[in-house]
Amino acid sequence: MRELINRLKTGIFTENPTFMQMLGMCPTLAVTTSAQAGLGMGLATTAVLILSNFAISLLRKAIPVKVRIPVFVVLIATFVTIIEMLLKAYVPALYNELGLFIPLIVVNCIILGRAEAYASKNKVLPSVFDGIGMGLGFTFALTLISIVRELLAYGTIFDIKIAPKFYEASTIFASAPGAYFVLGFLLAGIAAIRNKKSSKGRA
């Protein structure tokens, strides 16, 4: 049980895929224009991560080492396509917003990374929790970035007006350069917090 909780903590905080491992930068920068899109993308990726970690861990003894990468890719692509069809059918608003980035989850390096680094070497239950942890970590990161961007760009969060009237919305934060600015400042902030913590630890 401790190990399972540890997996969650690792994914969300200590090895957060976006803020610590710097993986999956492409969707991180591209879809975080609104809080809803960021959260949706995070959850879609989480679903794929859980399913692919589960299947790969289950089949880990049957998958020959030499063809493991093609097997991983086939499994991941299958789950992504399933999620894509489900979103298109039941959550079309989110599907329209994320568009091309849903099929691109296939090549999100977090998913292949977890398959190779964890699920292919560990038991099913810890692998599922690893998927949940990494997925939630990714979701947390995307949601945080997109909340900041949406607030700065439109003065709203989840389409709810937050900013006071005198705030002049600056749409640069909704475009690509804004994504880099926000990500850069968040990374710097997180690094500052960590440095403070580790220097305290030493003292």
Binding site: I82, A89, Y90
Partner: protein, 188 residues
């Protein structure tokens, strides 16, 4: 050598299982997805084919589509009252997405421009009623763009200064009509 065959077989089995899973999910979702696509365009559909109360997807004749991307049939109860086609024209500024409706008696029920990137206040006038209503109620035959006042029923007067945009819409509509005549067998 033995290794290669074994590995290939395992990969093959896993791919087969994946394919079965995909076809299973597809069989559940495909109908819902079609309904979603119709719901998205239903407003435009109802405006064009006002006497239809429901719409259904018609399978396209892919090899002979004349550029038609989606085909729908409008139903009143179970009776077919007209057909709707999605078609894309290439305008002055990019793609022009059009819906055209044709009644069962081979007259044009109406056209609607879904999206375009034509020049504002010039080519963008293709969305206005003055232009689109020129097609309405006419026989589904080939239309021709003219720059002067029209003298024949199949002539469409171009928007002043936007001949390219006007022609793009008309060419797309002609293609859709050709598809209609080919598949549904309208006028000869």
């Amino acid at each position: 050598m033995k290794d290669i065959i074994k590995n290939a077989l395992i990969l093959c089995v896993i791919t087969l299982i994946a394919a079965f899973m995909l076809s299973f999910v597809n069989s559940i979702t495909s109908e819902v997805i079609i309904k979603q696509e119709i719901a998205k365009q239903e407003g435009a559909f109802k405006q064009i084919l006002s006497n239809a109360d429901s719409f259904d997807v018609v399978e396209l004749d892919e090899e002979n589509s004349f550029g038609v991307t989606n085909a729908y049939v409008g139903l009143k109860g179970t009776e077919e009252v007209g057909y709707l086609y999605n078609i894309t024209g290439s305008g002055y500024g990019g793609e022009i997405k059009i819906i055209i409706g044709i009644n069962v008696d081979s007259t044009i029920a109406g056209i609607s421009i879904l999206s375009h990137t034509e020049t504002a206040n010039v080519g963008s006038k293709i969305v206005e009623d003055d232009f689109t209503s020129q097609f309405k109620d006419k026989q589904a035959t080939e239309f021709e763009v003219v720059k002067t006042a029209t003298s024949e029923p199949n002539e469409i007067q171009a928007i002043s200064g936007a001949t390219v945009s006007s022609k793009a819409v008309t060419v797309a509509i002609n293609n859709a009509i050709e598809y209609y005549n080919e598949v549904v067998g309208g006028l000869d």
